[in-house]
């Protein structure tokens, strides 16, 4: 049942590189990551790629397979025709370090800007009481394995590098939504979602949802509800009037580290 697959793998570093052709053995049940490992062990010892768990739980082996953002470990070879050429390239939105490895530090910078969980300081550890139905919404977003495929596919930054400073991307707007919906979080994150993390740039094309290997409904359950909450606040006449008079941030709105 084994056959030889034709691979075209991007090799190179810092913008210099090319697609290199390889022919690699494929056995029953294997995934793209298996084939890349075989390539690495037998033909290209120094092929750079990231992986960890090989079970779709760590989000390390993000890549583009025939142009589609995917996890190498969860992409079965059997979904491709045996004579089909597989073109394997690094995530396009992030700068290449080497071969299939990209510099994803953008994501860690955004993560550090989002104000952290802010519970009532009076609640001591062990005293939290939350119902399953209330934690479930944020739990869905916490399934995120930070593979950054949603960040990679989002056209706001994929095609427009200049938007990167103003836009946190689906993964981190979802993090804002997660905290906004966390039953024990006290902060009001609606203003910063729009003003500091660029929620307005998102025009809900759902590309992020489509590539999410965890099947999280990023657009429907995180981004759209967050947009609704932001609008709810912006057009609340009392909030609008208060803002005109004091020109101050609401006291529940947390400070964004590194942005003010």
């Amino acid at each position: 049942m084994a056959y030889m697959a034709n691979l075209r793998v991007w090799r190179g570093d810092h913008g210099e590189g090319k697609l290199v052709d390889y022919s690699v053995e494929v056995n029953e049940g294997e995934v793209v990551l298996d084939i890349l490992h075989r390539l690495q062990a037998t033909q290209a010892n120094d092929l750079a790629l990231r992986w960890n768990c090989k079970a779709g739980k760590c989000g390390s082996c993000s890549m583009e397979i025939n142009g589609r953002p995917r996890l190498g470990c969860m992409t079965r070879m059997s979904i491709f025709d045996q004579d089909q050429v597989l073109t394997i390239t690094p995530m396009r939105t992030f700068p290449v370090i080497r071969d299939l490895v990209t510099d994803v530090s953008f994501n860690y910078e955004k993560a550090r800007q989002i104000p952290s969980f802010s519970p009532d300081p009076a609640t001591k550890p062990g005293e939290f009481r939350m119902q399953q139905v209330d934690v479930q919404r944020s739990q869905e977003f916490r399934k995120c394995i930070e593979c950054y495929l949603c960040q990679n596919v989002c056209h706001v930054i994929r095609d427009h590098e200049e938007n990167m400073p103003a836009y946190a991307g689906p993964r981190f707007l979802m993090r804002v939504a997660e905290l906004e919906m966390h039953p024990a979080d006290m902060a009001d994150r609606r203003n910063i979602a729009q003003d500091d993390f660029g929620l307005g740039y998102c025009n809900i094309t759902k590309c992020c949802t489509e590539v999410c290997p965890e099947g999280i409904h990023i657009t429907d359950n995180a981004l759209i509800p967050l947009k609704e909450r932001v609008v709810g606040r912006k057009y609340d006449p009392l909030v609008w009037l208060g803002g005109k008079i004091t020109r101050k941030q609401h006291r529940d709105t947390p400070r964004v580290p590194g942005k003010h």
Binding site: G29, W51, N52, C58, A111, Q139, G215, P257
Partner: protein, 635 residues
């Protein structure tokens, strides 16, 4: 040596999984400048693979639970070879550590009263595992990662620099610990992205590097698990404890071949899943050992009633500790009653409604659907044992996690003692946070009380030379070939069932592999070159493999994660022995025996004398405190 980036810290934590992050948080909370060294990207460590939950006797589901019951279960699971002091601290402190995670933003599944829900697991008397579906490890690592970020945000506001007191060095591998005048002075390594060298000068180093699974072929562990911390500690002059105890998780995937070894969570059994052989029989009833006979059901009816009424029924034998279940599966397959691909059947489909399976075990459903074309809501899974965890590890002080070298600490899977000869599921995640906090705390205390040793040029030069050696050689073998042969050797000869002549053969083969590893050469440059990284990791895997095989050959009994075909029984004499590995002058493993410290009387009193009889020598039983302690009938 111009291309060495030098950093100075108070505490350097090697490893960014649950234990490393918890240690770093504590060191930073104590005001220490802390570096976190992560072999992968931040947030990808092996902790994300933990599925079932964190064991902590909060008593949220069954109020009868308390630290004493948890302590008893842990000692039983480890067959009384555990460091009883660690098992005690762990059972007492685990609830606080889990509640703390919640206060840092973790969202565990809830009980009806809105408390943290707890699930059943192998070897735990009551429902005890705080969990989030079957992705608890991910929740833990994300929460700790986000707590680190929260501390960095505080420092950004108060000190003007988010990395003023805690900085993550992602994709950085430590290849040498540096000891000067008998004390820790620092750590040396490389950064994957550039291949450039880094030197961390620090009086305190915490090893939190996890396990050794990549020494074996069939494993649930990722590429990072190459025994780095175990080897670094040995090379620096510290000691390893009881390395013969390797846990083979009973349920890894067996098909397709490329996913062989990937973990199938014990929660499947905790939530009602049963094991069957090719004849459809629930075979675990045939494998309940004498020491556990009193606590496990004898009929399917009783076992099934237990899920709803734990007070009046005994536990299903599918929930025996992992070592027992793994051996039983092995025996069934060997007797020709296995599944088509050499495992047994794990059936949840006939036990729970499909929607309940999807709610409780979503990532298992996803994993089988994607990787094996199996719908676990409709058909059974095929499973078999996979190398999962090493109970053995760096010998540490149970209270402070300090190792034999002043300034060196270790925590989590890389440390030894806590789990004895076999770890209970769920005790790992709680181990990470209980002892992570302790390691960070005592490392900070140590820093306050010590001078900063300087790192000598000689130490750096030797570390650089060692790291560059694979590039100096040409025409040698590929490191991948040597690694593959090492994994096959350990799998075939030092695996789940061990025999004297096979382990002797393994040790001989390891000598050859060591010679081959010394000659491997790598191609390409220093920037992000996995071939080079593997060539360096080989040193660690080989020394760890030798430690495991040497200790396994020495221990002539079967206990927990060490099964000898030639010595099938547990021996009360061997229970009094810890096997200690260190390195001799030639860099080979030297083994010594060390007596186990006797358990405190108040802890002994938690067990019935009749139970202790199954584990202890006559001499020990005679010296047990009489009368009021170790009373009969105290269940």
């Amino acid at each position: 040596m111009t291309d060495i980036q030098r950093y100075s810290y108070d505490v350097v934590v090697i490893g960014a999984g649950g234990s490393g992050l918890r240690a770093a948080i504590e060191a930073r909370l104590a005001g220490k400048r802390t570096a976190i060294i992560s072999k992968s990207l931040f947030g990808k460590a092996h902790t994300v693979m933990a599925e079932g939950g964190a064991a902590a006797a909060m008593g949220n589901v069954n109020p009868a639970d308390n630290w004493q019951v948890h302590f008893r279960d842990t000692m039983r699971g480890g067959k009384f070879l555990n460091s009883w002091r660690m098992a005690e601290l762990h059972a007492k402190e685990a609830p606080d550590r889990v509640w703390e995670l919640e206060a840092w933003g973790a969202l565990f599944d809830r009980t009806k009263e809105g408390k943290i829900s707890q699930r059943n697991f192998g070897g735990h008397e009551y429902p005890r595992l705080a969990h989030v579906g079957d992705r608890t490890g991910l929740e833990m690592i994300r929460t700790l990662q986000q707590k680190v970020v929260a501390l960095q945000q505080e420092d950004a506001i108060n000190l003007g620099d988010p990395e003023a007191r805690v900085k993550v060095f992602a994709e950085t591998t430590i290849t040498r610990l540096i000891v000067e005048n008998g004390r820790m002075a620092g750590a040396f390594g490389y950064q994957r992205e550039t291949g450039g060298f880094v030197l961390f000068e620090a009086p305190a180093v915490i090893i939190a590097t996890g396990g050794i699974g990549k020494t074996f072929k069939v494993t649930s562990n990722s590429w990072e698990y190459t025994g780095d911390g175990h080897a670094l500690a040995l090379l620096a002059g510290a000691r390893l404890l009881n390395m013969e105890f390797v846990q083979f998780h009973p349920t890894g995937m067996v098909w397709p071949p490329s996913v062989k070894g990937i973990l199938v969570t014990e929660s499947v059994r905790g939530d009602g899943g049963v094991l069957r052989n090719s004849e459809g029989k629930r075979f675990m009833f045939d494998y309940v050992p004498d020491v556990f006979r009193a606590q496990y059901a004898e009929t399917e009816e009783e076992a099934d009633r237990w899920y709803d009424d734990q007070a009046n029924n005994r536990r299903p034998p599918e929930l025996l500790p992992r070592d027992e279940v793994a051996r039983s599966i092995n025996s069934e397959v060997k007797a020709g009653r296995g599944s088509p691909h050499g495992g047994v059947f794990l059936d949840i489909a006939s036990r729970l409604p499909a929607e309940e399976i999807l709610r409780r075990l979503p990532s298992m459903h996803h994993q089988f659907k994607q990787l094996a074309d199996v719908d676990i809501t409709a058909e059974p899974m095929e499973v078999g044992p996979t190398c999962h965890y090493v109970m053995g590890g760096i010998e540490v002080d149970p209270d402070t996690q300090a190792a034999a070298i002043p300034g060196l600490f270790s925590v989590g899977e890389s440390s030894g003692g806590m789990h004895g000869s076999n770890r209970l599921g769920g005790n790992s995640l709680s181990d990470l946070v209980v002892f992570g906090r302790r390691a960070g705390l005592y490392a900070a205390e140590y820093v306050d009380a010590t001078e900063r040793p300087a790192v000598s040029d000689a130490a750096i030069e030797s570390a650089v030379a060692e790291a560059l050696a694979p590039f100096e050689r040409t025409g040698g073998e590929s490191p991948y070939a040597v690694h593959a042969d090492l994994q096959q050797t350990m799998n075939d000869l030092v695996g789940i069932i061990r025999r004297e002549h096979e382990m002797e053969a393994a040790l001989k083969e390891l000598v050859t592999l060591r010679e081959r590893a010394a000659k491997v050469s790598v191609t390409g440059g220093r920037a992000y070159n996995p071939g080079w990284h593997l060539a360096l990791d080989l040193r660690n895997m080989l020394v760890v493999a030798e430690a495991i095989a040497t200790a396994a050959l020495e221990r002539q009994e079967s206990r927990g994660g060490h099964t000898r075909e030639d010595y099938p029984a547990m021996s009360p004499e061997w229970r009094q022995v810890n096997l200690i590995c260190s390195l001799d002058d030639d860099g080979r493993i030297k083994l010594t025996r060390q007596p186990l410290p006797p358990m405190r009387d108040d802890l002994l009193a938690l067990f019935e004398r009749s139970e202790l009889k199954k584990y202890m020598t006559d001499a020990e039983l005679v010296s047990l405190p009489a009368g009021d302690s170790a009373q009969e009938g105290n269940h």
